[in-house]
Subunit: 179 residues, 2 copies
C-alpha cells in the first residue's frame, strides 16, 4: 500500500491521487487502507517516511563527532535528492504543499515535526558534549543545514554533491560553535 | 503591460498565462508585447523584477556596515514575502519553476543571476573592508542568508519577522567572519 501510494503520487500528483487508486494498485480493498490511515495525506506521508527511514526509524548517527555525523547525514540527503525514484514523489508533494496551506499543516505534523525532533536530539547531544553552542537556536541550525540543500534541489540550480554537503556542515558549525 | 503580466500570473498561474491575455488586459496589441519581450517567461520575470526594483535598479545599500545593510535588506525581503500582492505571483511562479526545468533555466538567467550578482557586489565590498572572510564562497553566503527565508515562506512554517531576519544575518556573519 505504501509503495502504491508513493508510485501514484509521482505519477499523477497529490491533488489527483485517490484512496481508491491506491487500493486498486495495491490489490486491496479501500476499507483496508482506511483501517490503517485516516486520510490520503496520512498514507502518502507515511509512504515517503518509510522510504527514508528504512528499518532504522528516524534517528541520526551519534558517534560522538558532530561534524562527521552531520556530513554523513547531509551527504546521504544530497544523494537521495539526486535519486529519481526518491525525489519524484517529494517534488510532486512539495509543489502542492506550497499552494495548499492545509496540506502544508499535515506535512508539518506527520513528516517535518518528527524528523526535525530527531535531528534536534542529535544537536542536543552535541550541546551536552560541548561541540555546539548551548544557547544555539536549533531551528536556525537546522535551517542552515537543510534549507540551502532543499532550495538548490527545488530550483535545480547547482550540483548537490559531497563537497556542498561538507561545506554546509562546516559553515553551520562555525556559526554555532561553543562560546 | 508589466502590471497586467503580474496580475495574470497571480490569477491563472504561469502555465495558463498567454501573451494574448496580457495584451488584452493591458489594452495593447500582441505585437506590442513581442516588440519588447521575446517570450512569456521574459515578460513575466521582468514584471516581477520591476516590482522589487522600484526605481533603484538592483543594488544593495552600502553604508560601510555590512551587518546593518544586510539586516535592512533581509527585513525588507521578509516584509515583501508577507505582502500578498508581492508574494502571490512569485509563489505561482516558484511552483512552476520546481516542475519545469526549462522555466527554471529562464528564471536563473533573467532573475536569479542578476540579483545574485548585485548581492555579491555588496559582499565583495565587505571583503575589501575586512568585514567578511576574503576566501568565503559567496554563493554559500547567499544561500545561508536567503534559503531559510525562502523555505519558511514556501512552507508557511514559521513567522518571517525582523527577529528572524536579524538572526539569519548574525549567524551568517559568524560563519564567514574574517580569519
Amino acid at each position: 500500500m505504501l509503495t502504491a501510494a508513493r508510485e501514484l503520487v509521482s505519477e499523477v500528483g497529490y491533488a489527483k491521487l485517490t484512496i481508491e487508486a491506491i487500493a486498486a494498485r495495491a490489490g486491496v480493498g479501500k476499507q483496508t487502507i482506511y483501517r490503517w490511515w485516516p486520510s490520503k495525506g496520512a498514507v502518502v506521508f507515511d509512504s515517503i517516511l518509510a522510504l527514508s527511514e528504512g528499518e532504522r526509524g528516524i534517528e541520526l548517527p551519534d558517534t560522538g563527532d558532530l561534524e562527521a555525523d552531520l556530513k554523513t547525514v547531509l551527504r546521504a540527503t544530497a544523494a537521495e535528492f539526486a535519486d529519481a525514484e526518491f525525489e519524484a514523489p517529494i517534488r510532486a508533494l512539495q509543489t502542492e504543499i506550497i499552494n495548499d496551506p492545509d496540506l502544508a499543516a499535515i506535512y508539518r505534523e506527520k513528516m517535518e515535526a518528527p524528523m526535525r525532533e530527531a535531528k534536534k536530539q542529535r544537536l542536543r547531544s552535541a550541546q551536552r558534549a560541548g561541540q555546539l553552542d548551548a544557547d544555539a537556536d536549533l531551528d536556525l541550525v537546522l535551517d542552515f543545514l537543510y534549507a540551502p540543500l532543499t532550495q538548490r534541489w527545488l530550483e535545480r540550480s547547482r550540483p548537490l554533491d559531497d563537497a556542498f554537503a561538507d561545506a554546509l556542515v562546516e559553515a553551520t558549525l562555525r556559526a554555532f560553535r561553543p562560546a
